[in-house]
């Protein structure tokens, strides 16, 4: 097994700021926008973007929530394992809001499909966008594409993309593992 660095800490830093600016350009004061990090790995990206928007761009009122999609997945009972859930924490309604779903890696698109269903338990959003740090091209099972992407990569099925965050793994880095 070998691993290659896809993104360094500096590159991640630049990309996060760019993504924050793109969000800002589209959503301005965020009064009608909510950021939803997908459990378990998308929440770190969502928290980082929210921090950057607050600290560096003085956006004061950001609604940030975490959505777990376990009970909405389409592979329950497929491989004989119990799917273990994570915490959903959405303290607001998404009725008529612009929802930005945030995840670290976009791969087959199945998690996003589940998230699109799951988020509707919290109301009827005005529109839903998707932001991912890594977009794995040519691997989609469903017609889903991100509105905001950090980096698009060409990775074959057998390879794995791992996003590490300081909060969890002690470093900001993206690896390609094969």
């Amino acid at each position: 097994m070998s691993q290659k660095v896809l993104l360094s800490e500096k590159e991640i830093h630049i990309i996060l700021h760019r993504l924050a600016c793109q969000l800002l350009e589209r959503h301005l004061d965020f009064s009608e926008t909510v950021l939803i990090g997908l459990q378990p790995r998308g929440i770190f990206l969502a928290q980082r973007l929210s921090q950057i928007l607050k600290k560096d761009y003085q956006v004061s009122n950001i609604s940030l929530g975490f959505l777990d999609i376990t009970f909405f997945r389409d592979d329950f009972r497929r491989d004989g394992k119990t799917l273990t859930a994570n915490k959903t924490q959405i303290d607001f309604l998404v009725d008529n809001k612009n929802v930005v779903l945030i995840d670290d890696v976009l791969y087959t698109g199945r998690s996003i499909r589940a998230a699109l269903t799951a988020i509707q338990s919290f109301g009827r959003p005005k529109e839903i966008e998707l932001l991912t740090l890594i977009d794995r091209r040519f691997s989609r099972h469903l017609p889903i594409q991100p509105n905001y992407r950090g980096r698009q990569v060409d990775v074959i099925m057998e390879e794995k993309v791992k996003v590490c965050w300081k909060e969890q793994e002690g470093e900001d880095r993206v690896y390609l593992i094969n």
Partner: protein, 308 residues
């Protein structure tokens, strides 16, 4: 990824501590789900569950049905008059007939102790015991412990007294197993005639004085007198029972601490508990009912993941 150690939920006796932990953690997520504007998830949309009740039930049946529907399972309801079905082949035949309609899981209440265990040896579907005679009522014990955990943070180390008709109560037995498994101290309290002879062998204390028992405990679980299971008189009169073992406000106020009051329902107001106490701030009776749905969703979800 964790899984339950058992393919059926026949009784708390067959579970281990990790199973209970897993059920509670899963129930936490479902509790959040049932408080959403849309309280339904599609996890079990390809599962069919039969609720087979050979004995009357309101709360448990509704709670199971709601839990199943919240998980998007298809639900079949079957109620039999107590007299129409006898234990043995007839029960197995009845259930096999229902199962031949491609049912994946059976929730069963039966007046005979061990009915669930018997069934599990003869049918392929996953079985949840919703009460078998005076034996076990595992989901009730799970939701009781879950409610204690929610109210007091943890079950381990807590002192729980179960008051009332212990002899005929499946809730009491399942609760004793569940509480002991989680490291709680348990006492039972009631007239001697309603306490099983060898109850101490389960590692529980016995107290016949209600006030003493209440002064000792953090949580009091008040049980109803199960007149329908009594073939002889176990105490002189209901009035006397209430005087000695009924929980009322003056008694509660005379304690030097605040205890948590529970009741699995149905309540006989004015007998084992007065309305004032049942509806007081210290009572978590309605929380138990809400938690019942979340805990049953967790049990069904976890057992369903074993279905091939």
């Amino acid at each position: 990824m964790s899984q339950l150690s058992v393919p059926h939920l026949l009784g708390i006796k067959y579970l281990n501590k990790k199973d209970i932990q897993l059920i509670f953690e899963t129930a936490d997520h479902f509790k959040e789900v049932i408080n959403r504007p849309i309280k339904k998830v599609p996890s079990l949309r390809d599962i069919t569950i039969a609720n087979i009740f050979f004995e009357n039930s309101t709360r448990t049946k509704l709670s199971f049905e709601l839990a199943e529907k919240r998980l998007s399972a298809d639900v079949l309801n079957f109620s039999a008059a107590q007299s129409s079905v006898k234990k043995g082949e007839t029960l197995i035949d009845t259930v096999n007939n229902i199962l031949s309609m491609k049912v994946d899981m059976v929730v069963m209440r039966h007046p005979d102790p061990g009915a669930g265990v018997l069934l599990s040896k003869h049918i392929k579907a996953s079985i949840i015991n919703a009460g078998d005679g005076a034996h076990e009522h595992p989901t009730q014990a799970l939701l009781d412990s879950y409610s204690i955990r929610e109210k007091l943070g943890d079950v381990g180390g807590k002192k729980v007294v179960i008051v009332g008709d212990i002899l005929h109560s499946r809730v009491a037995l399942s609760n004793i197993y569940a509480l002991k498994l989680q490291g709680a101290e348990v006492k039972v309290c009631g007239p001697k005639t309603l306490l099983p002879k060898y109850i101490e062998s389960l590692g529980v204390g016995v107290e016949t004085n209600l006030k003493k028992a209440l002064e000792w405990c953090d949580v009091a679980n008040m049980l109803r007198v199960q007149n329908e299971r009594m073939d002889i008189s176990y105490f002189p009169s209901t009035r006397e029972y209430t005087q000695l073992y009924g929980l009322n406000k003056p008694l509660l106020d005379s304690l030097n601490k605040e205890i948590v009051i529970m009741h699995p329902g149905p309540i006989n107001r004015g007998v084992e508990i007065t309305s004032e106490v049942a509806d007081s701030e210290q009572s978590i009776i309605l929380n138990q009912v809400e938690n019942g749905v979340a805990v049953r969703m967790a049990v069904i979800y976890l057992l369903a993941s074993n279905i091939k």
